[in-house]
Structures are given as C-alpha cells and as structure tokens.
C-alpha cells in the first residue's frame, strides 16, 4: 500500500475514533437534576356538613412542599370558625381524636339551603376559607330494581349485583353518592357495607337533568335478608372533591395526573355538604 493511502487511512481512523469518543462521552449523565419550583406549605381543610349528622367535624393538616424537609406543626392552636347568616361559631379543637375540630350540630343547627363559610387561621400559614350551601332538598326517588347474577371464573363461584335506579330532581344541578348494606337471615339487625370502587359511586345529573341514574353493588353473599341503600344528595364540592380524590392513581407513570378538586381559598381540601336518605327493602 502506498504511503499516502496509509496516511489517509490513519486520518480516517483518527477521525472516527474522535467521533466514537465524543459519542461515548456524551452518553454519560443523560439524567440531570432540575430545580423544583418553590412553594410554601398551606393548610389542608376538610369538612362535610349535614343537618342529618350529629357532629360538625373539621380535619386540619398541611401540605408538604416536595423540595422541603418535613416540620411538625401544632394544629391545636388553629382558630376554626363557621360563619353564616346564623352568626359565627368557633369550632373547638378535639383533644381526643387529634387534629380534628368538632362541635355538636345541636350547638349550631345547620339549615338546608343556607350557605356556611369555614375559616381557619394559624400562625405561619395564610388564612384559608371555603363555603358550602347545604342542598335544600333530599332526593327520595330511589328504588331497588332487582338482582343480577354473574359467574366469576377466577373464584369459580357466582356473584350478584344489587341494582338501584334513581330519578334525578329536575331543574337544578344535583350530585349524589350512595352506599349499600345487606343483612343476612341469621342476623337481620346487623347491616354490613358492600365495598365498591368508590370513585364510581359519585354521580352527577349533568346532561341528564331529571333522568334516571343507576347504582349497582356487587356481593358474593347468597343469604341476603335485607338491602339498605343510603343515598346522599350532595353539593358540588363534595362531589368534585371525591370524584377526583378517588381517581388519584399514585405513582403510575402511565396514568394521567389527577388535579384533586379544592374549594378552599389559599389552601387545599374541601368544604362540602350533603343530605341523607335511607331506603331499606326486605328480599
């Protein structure tokens, strides 16, 4: 081989050697740290008011910014008050349960149709507040429509759906939640809850004003004596908060992130309300 060809070959080899070295070097450190946006902790408040309940309960906590180290907070010093046209009432700290503020409904009777504003102040945090209007009407138009049977191939046994239909109250936005219980023939007084994917139990009448809504609860129990359904007629905050909360899917990287609803200004959580209707049928 002539000398100039060898020189060219050498240059080509050096050139490709440099390229390969450059590529290998650049392959390292493909993961880099990025500064997280700065945020401050804020108060998290949850309360759900109902005239049919015996207690007004407010749960208080705080959010933990991701780029900060956890610090303890004494929530007992928070000032929690409920304000409405009925006047203002401070809700005291519950020493027994902890981080919960409670007040008997009898001390501050809740009126259907009234708007209540919850306000919470604590040193080191912005004052937060949220309002709810208690649904003025209870929906009682619920009926049991029967049981359907299906076979579970994994468990090799039958299971049942207890089906209910609900007629929406027309002319207004309505939101519902339901729970279902059953009693057995050997103990007709004890009602056991049926667990369902809770996100599916929060319904709205959007695009279906005055129409039918349906609930189905699954059970493997064959010995059913009575079925009890408790229907919650809720406000929008109650519905939206729970819909989004139960959609939260943790760290699943393939899941759409869930922006959990909040109607608490300067903070997080929900201030909601509901009404109760109980419906029992003997099978």
């Amino acid at each position: 081989m002539k000398m100039y060809k060898i020189l060219i070959m050498k240059r080509v080899l050096v050139f490709f050697g440099c390229l390969a070295g450059l590529a290998l070097n650049s392959c390292t450190e493909m993961v880099t740290d990025i500064d997280l946006p700065v945020s401050d902790p804020s108060l998290v408040v949850n309360t759900y008011l109902s005239p049919e309940d015996s207690l007004i309960l407010v749960v208080l906590s705080k959010s933990q910014p991701l780029n900060q180290v956890w610090t303890e907070t004494d929530f007992s010093k928070a000032v929690v008050s409920l304000v409405s046209s009925q006047g203002s009432m401070v809700i005291p700290y519950d020493q027994v349960i902890g981080n919960i503020f409670s007040l008997p409904v009898s001390a501050y009777p809740l009126q259907p149709g009234n708007t209540y504003t919850l306000q919470v102040s604590l040193d080191g945090f912005e004052t937060v507040y949220g309002s709810t209007t208690i649904p003025p009407v209870i929906n009682t138009m619920v009926e049991y429509t029967g049981m359907t049977r299906k076979y579970d191939f994994d468990m090799e046994q039958f299971y049942y759906f207890l089906n209910f239909s609900l007629t929406d109250l027309p002319g207004q936005d309505n939101y519902y939640y339901a729970r279902c219980m059953i009693s057995r023939s050997w103990d007709t007084t004890y009602f056991e809850d049926l667990y369902e994917d809770r996100g599916r139990l929060f319904l709205s009448d959007k695009n279906n004003d005055g129409g039918k809504l349906y609930y189905s609860f699954r059970t493997w129990e064959e010995d059913i004596h009575s079925v009890r359904m408790i229907l919650y007629t809720t406000d929008e905050a109650f519905y939206r908060f729970h819909r989004t909360f139960f959609s939260f899917s943790g760290d699943d990287p393939f899941a759409e992130p869930v922006v959990v609803y909040s109607n608490v200004s300067n903070g997080l959580g929900a201030v909601g309300s509901y009404r109760l209707y109980e419906y029992t049928i003997h099978l």
Partner: protein, 788 residues
C-alpha cells in the same frame, strides 16, 4: 346506497360536461392539455407550473401529471417550470385543441445535486395558503438521526408544525394532536405512521414522488381530520430503463429498483428497508439464555400501465412491520421450558387507481383503497407438558372507494368534485387465551363497523388579474352502531394580488373527525387505539380561520409567507384524570372499564403567527421557519373545569435549515431548532386530605396525594439542537455514489425527554428531587448511497 347513486350520477353527469365540441363555439377558445413527465424516466410530475405570460394565466399539473388550460385562438409562449428541473419554454400556435406532453430535464447535470435548479413557482400566485410542498430530494440532503432520512422529521421543521418530544416523528399541527393528521399514501390512509415507538416515520422518501402538508385553508376534497393532511404519492417507476438506489446506514439498509415492464407503457417500482441491529447481535445470544431483538422493515411496490392519454392504471402497495421478539428454551429432557413471546404492529395499504380522461377538459381518478393497521401481542409457553397461549389484537381496517373529477371549463375556473366512501372496521381489543388447564378457551373479539362518506365540490375561480377564490363545500357523514352524523363543511380560500410579487390571502375551513385515537402519551405508541364516534363520543370538530401575506423577492430569490390563524376545536377527546392506558389494555378489566369510560370530551382553541422565509433555489438554499402560538383546552372533567395549556402548546418554535453546495461533489447541510419547553403537570407538594367516610367516623385518611396546582402549569426546559451533515458525491461508472457523515445534536445539548421525581432521604427528613432524562447525546452517523 345514496352515496353509490351519487357516484353513478357523477359519472353520468361527467359524460355531458362541455368537452371538445362546445369549446369551439365559445369565442374560438381552444384547450391546451397534456402530461408533464421527467426526461429519462417518464415519471409523471405533480405540481408543475404551466404559465402563459401573454394571457397572465396558468395552472399546475395535478397528482397524475395532467394539466389543461383553455385559451383564445392565438400564438403563445408556454412556460413549464418545476423546482429541481430546467425551465421549458415552448412557442405554440393555438388554433385547435392541442395535446402537448412535455418532458422536463433535471436541473443539475449531476443528478445527485438538485439544489441549483431553476423555479418559477411563486407563493404569491397561488390561491392556496397554509400548504407546504416538500421536495422529496431535499429530505435526502438534510441531516437525520442515525442517518435515517425521514419525511416527517423534515415536516417538523416547517412553521406551524411541532415535534412532540425529542426524536419523535409525530406531527403537532396548529395546536392539534398527532391523531388529527390525515396521512395518506397513494389515497390510502395510514393509521400508525411510526416505527420504533415513534422515533422514525414510515417514510424515508426513497419511494416517494411527492409529499405535501396542508395545515389550513383545506380544499373541500380533503376531510376526516381536524388539523392537517399529509398527502404522499409513490413514484410510478422508470418507464425507460432499469434504475435504482441502494443505501447502507448504521441501523438499516435500503434498496429501490424501478424499471420498464413494457417499454414506454408499463413500469414497476420496488423499494425496501430493513433494520439489522437484531441480526448483528444475534450471534452473541444463546437460546438457553434467552434471545430477544427488534427490527422493522418497509416494503413499497407499484405497477402502472399507460393505455395512452385517456386511460392509465396504477396498483400500489405498502407493507411495514415493527417486531419485538423474545425466545427462550431451557431445562432438560424432563423439564423442558420453552417460551416464545413478543409483539408486532404493522401497516398495510393497497391502492388501485384508474385515471380516465373524458375529454381534454375533464379528468377523473377512481381509486379502490385498502388500509389495515393492527397491533398483536402474543405469548406461548410450554413447560413440563403444560401449555399456555395468549394473543391480543387491536387495530383498524378500511375498504374505500374514491372518485375525483377535475373539470377545466376555462382559465377562470377549475372545478373539482367527487366522493369517497370508507368502510371502517375497528377492533379496539380482541384476545384469545388457551391453556391445557382451561376448560373453555377464552376468545373475545370486539368489532365495530362504520361507514364514513364525503362528497364535495369546489371551484378555483380567477376574478380578473387580482382576485382568486377557492370556495367549496363538503358533505361528510358517519354511520355506526345506531348513530349517524351528517355535517356540511364549508371551505373557502382567497387571494388578492398586491402588485406582481405580493398577495394577501385568507381562508376558512370547517372540519369534522369521526375517528379518534386514544393515546395518553402522545408518543405514537403502537398501543394507541383507534375508536369510532358514538352516541357518547361525538365527532371532533374544528373551525380554522387564517389570514396571510406572501411576497416573492426578485433577487435573491426568496419567498416570504406570514400567516396568522385562529382555530376552535369542539368535542376533542382526552384521557380522564387517573385513567391509565395500561389498565385500559388489561383484558381482566376490559369487561368493566370500556374505553368510553376512560375518556372525556372538551374543547380547545389555538392561535398563532407563522413566518416562513424560504430560498428554494441556488447553491445556498433552505429556510427559516418561526411559529408563535398558544393552545389552550377546557374539559369539564379535567383540571376541575378550568382551562389549561395543551400538552403540545409551544410558545416559540424556530427552525433554521441550510443546504449549501460547496462544489458539485460536496454538499453540506445543517439544521438548528429551538422550541419553548413543553407544558407538563408537575406535583408541587404532598398532602393528606380527608375524604368523607361512613366507616371511620365520617373521615377516611391514609392516602397521600400530590398537589399539582394546575394541569400543565409547569414548563420543561427549552429545547434546541444543531444537526450537521456533509455529503461527498462522486460520479462513478455505473451511477452516482454518495458518502454521508452526519452529526446529530452536534453540541451535545441535553434536551428534555421526560421528567421524574426521586425522593432522597437524609437524617433531617426526606426531600424530592426533579430529574430530567435526555435521550440523544451527540450521535455521529455514516451512510453510503449508490444511485444507478
């Protein structure tokens, strides 16, 4: 049946449209018509400008190389011009109808270099706007990832078109998603146009004759998607001699062959590409330790027969497949264990086309079209005498009939009308499971049939010398599973000449989309699923208005277009918060969670300003493209009903593209892109709210959740990258060889691909760190091409 009747009526009606004889009666007007082809191959050329300076009238050849123009009796000079080809001037005496078939010679003597050709096509002369005709030859000159040339990656460099994530080939046009692009190859829709999870598109350009992107001002002949139409046509095949092109790259090799079957009458084209990383690493793997690999390939084929100027037949097909596989064989003779698993996805299209010339002013094309896309996951396990087989399939298959008519009554009008009927078969999910321990094998298939139709009419009108209009109407319909939709879709484009070199333009288009792509990654993964409109999932709709200005500089020959647009989108779909496509594809839950439960509908709007300064000819050519845009969406069930920035909202997007012919033997090129960071939803804090519970004293806790603030409120880091390449071209005895060296991401910028959170623990407590993953460092490439 109604659409069939329309088709038959169209044909019947066409027979009576004014043809040759009435033209004589119209004030001594005669028709000049014919085909324009490439000298040396007789490949029919699309979009060739045919201009008569004395009359200041012109037209362009259609997809099949045909043109027709009617003029008063007289002597004229006719100019035929096309980018990359020498201008052809012809003096004619028009005293009767004339048929002139023209051959254009490629602009450069050395055919590897097409950059210094002449061109007269002016942006200011066309009534159409928001349209980009991409010279396929230019695709081959620009740098590419691993040297793999890609039509879509070049389209991403145009204003109004954005890339999704680093390296991805998906197109995001004017605020629309990748599902809102109609990608057609020889009239057949292609449903998943990507290889290797979206890093490469199906189209390397080897077999393509033309590629055009329409992102607004949609003529009525297009329909079915909201945001864009990417129309590509395969070469017909060289009618004069056997020719071809072969390429050897880092990850794949290519071969294209074309030639005559019957001299000057029939020709063929065959093109194939296959990656071979799996073949290179295969010798180092043992079946006992597990053998896995990945490859993809593309095959294009086309046959055509020319029966003369009146009838031409074309049969074209595309087949491409991506394959992941894993095989294992272990154990001894008593406890043998054998596993075969993998997945593949594939596109297949076939088009049979018939061009028919009723008379010199009426041209028709009728196509029979087949398109099929499906994804298959399979596993087969044999162990100790037991066996288990699983197969999962999802996809979409189309049969379509399409008929298009072009009528050229006089230079002031070019009328098009036609119809397309498509029978879709959706298979959102089908799976079979069989095992020796199962009493009854599972065999569940969901099939949804639908019929989509569109009939249209449009006219390209010239009012005097200054005003051009293109009004049109399309009537689209969709019938499936008890639902039917019929919508009129008005379309309008206009142009007003401001002197010889400038024009103001405006357009409006209403579009409906009846098929939806379920994708929560936006990456173009094969797991994305096509589903039809239904009573719950209504057709998506968009309305787009655009206004623009075009100016053609005399020297240097530059064309400038500036366009502003506003787009409304209704019934667009998105994944519900919390929905996961992994759960969605899990057969266990498919019974309980239908795809309609996982999606939600909303609205969106996008507004933007686009600038394109382009130099199409000369030794130095290229373009600067800039887009300023905002895209926001509102879904009642996302972000608590508040508006948010779309995932593909991009404030600034800039592309600089440069090709420089250093000499006849060396061509250098470079691209530099800059894009504002993509929006993403980033958690700011963790908290533990208390939902209502009847079980735990009215509250139920224990679940820590993220506070995201607003959806898509955080921006990833800005993206920018420089790619370079240099081609060494040499004429050898049997053709031209091109040796190319490329540098992808030349200054090794770490661009964001995705972000994730990592929690770190210390004695003082835990904190969370945000990590950015980049995909492509500086990647050199080398390839060798031979054209013969």
């Amino acid at each position: 049946m109604k659409t069939m009747k329309f088709l038959l009526l169209s044909w019947f009606f066409s027979l009576f449209l004014p043809g040759e004889k009435p033209a004589h009666a119209q004030a001594n007007r005669f028709t000049l018509s014919g085909y324009v082809s490439e000298a040396g191959s007789r490949e029919l050329l699309t979009g060739v400008a045919v201009y008569v300076p004395e009359q200041k009238v012109g037209t362009t050849t259609n997809l099949y190389g045909f043109y027709s123009i009617s003029l008063p009796q007289g002597q004229y000079q006719v100019v035929y011009s096309y980018i990359g080809y020498e201008k052809h001037l012809l003096d004619i005496r028009l005293d009767k109808d004339m048929e002139l078939n023209i051959s254009l010679v490629q602009g450069a003597e050395l055919k590897g270099i097409e950059v210094k050709a002449s061109a007269e096509a002016k942006e200011s002369e066309s009534v159409r706007m928001s349209r980009i005709a991409l010279p396929v030859l230019q695709v081959k000159q620009l740098p590419a990832l691993l040297g793999e040339k890609d039509v879509f990656k070049v389209l991403q460099l145009m204003p109004g078109v954005q890339k999704g994530t680093e390296g991805a080939s998906g197109l995001y046009v004017r605020g629309g998603g990748p599902d809102q692009n109609l990608i057609i190859l020889d009239d057949a829709p292609v449903y998943n146009a990507s290889h290797l999870f979206g890093f490469f598109s199906l189209f390397s350009g080897d077999a393509l004759k033309s590629a055009e992107l329409v992102k607004g001002g949609f003529p009525a002949r297009y329909g079915g998607r909201l945001s864009s139409v990417v129309e590509m046509n395969m070469k017909d095949g060289n009618k004069e001699k056997l020719a071809g092109e072969a390429g050897l790259g880092l990850i794949s090799s290519r071969l294209t062959l074309e030639g005559p079957l019957v001299k000057d009458k029939a020709s063929f084209l065959f093109s194939g590409r296959r990656t071979y990383i799996d073949l290179l690493i295969r010798p180092f793997m043992k079946l006992e330790e597990g053998v896995g690999g990945y490859y993809f390939y593309d095959l294009n084929a086309k046959l055509n027969y020319d029966f003369g100027s009146r009838n031409k037949l074309y049969l074209s097909a595309y087949f491409g497949r991506d394959v992941f596989y894993y095989r294992y064989r272990g154990g001894g003779s008593w406890d043998r264990d054998e596993l075969r698993s993998g997945f593949y996805w594939q596109n297949a299209t076939t088009t049979f086309r018939w061009n028919h010339l009723f008379n010199k002013r009426l041209f028709a094309n009728t196509s029979l079209i087949f398109s099929n896309y499906h994804l298959v996951l399979h596993a087969e396990d044999k162990s100790d005498g037991d066996f288990f087989k699983l197969k999962y399939l999802s996809g979409i298959r189309d049969f379509a009939l399409k008929s298009d008519f072009s009528w050229f009554p006089d230079p002031a009008h070019q009328v098009r009308y036609g119809l397309v009927m498509t029978q879709h078969r959706f298979r959102p999910g089908a799976y079979t499971v069989n095992a020796n321990y199962m009493d009854i094998p599972v065999d569940e298939t969901v099939r949804i049939d639908a019929l989509e139709s569109g009939l249209y009419a449009e006219d390209e009108i010239r009012l005097g010398e200054k005003i051009k209009l293109n009004p049109g109407i399309r009537l689209s319909s969709f019938v499936s599973s008890g639902v039917s939709y019929v919508f009129p879709e008005p379309r309008f484009s206009s142009s007003y000449a401001l002197g010889e070199r400038a024009a103001a333009k405006a357009s409006y288009a209403l579009m409906n989309q009846y098929v939806h792509l379920l994708s929560n990654t936006g990456l173009g993964l094969p797991t994305d699923l096509w589903v039809p409109s239904s009573s719950v999932t209504r057709p998506q709709r968009s309305q787009l208005v655009a206004a623009g200005y075009a100016y053609d500089f005399a020297e240097p020959r530059l064309s400038l277009t500036i366009e502003a647009y506003y787009k409304w989108m209704d019934h667009i779909i998105g994944y519900r918060e919390g929905a996961s496509f992994l759960v969605f594809n899990d057969p266990e839950s498919a019974e309980q969670v239908s795809w309609e439960d996982n999606i939600t509908a909303g609205m969106g709007h996008s507004t933007g300003l686009e600038l394109l300064l382009q130099k199409k000819t000369g030794r130095l050519n290229g373009w600067v493209g800039y887009t300023l845009s905002w895209t926001r969406q509102q879904f009642d069930e996302l972000n608590n009903g508040r508006t948010f920035y779309a995932r593909y909202d991009r404030r600034h997007d800039l592309s600089l593209v440069c090709i420089y012919e250093i000499s006849e033997k060396i061509v250098a090129s470079g691209t530099w892109v800059f894009a504002s960071g993509n929006p993403m939803t980033l958690p700011l804090a963790l908290y533990q709210p208390a939902p209502y519970s009847h079980v735990f004293q009215s509250f139920w806790g224990g679940m820590e959740i993220y506070n995201y603030g607003e959806k898509n409120a955080y921006r990833m880091k800005n993206f920018h990258r420089l790619d370079l390449s240099i081609q060494f071209i040499k004429k050898i005895r049997k053709g031209i060889r091109t040796f190319e060296i490329g540098l992808f991401n030349a200054y090794n910028r770490r661009n964001p691909f995705f972000y994730f959170l990592e929690r770190s623990y210390s004695p003082g407590g835990s904190t969370t760190v945000l990590k950015q993953v980049s995909l492509f460092p500086l990647i050199p490439s080398i390839s060798y091409n031979l054209k013969f």
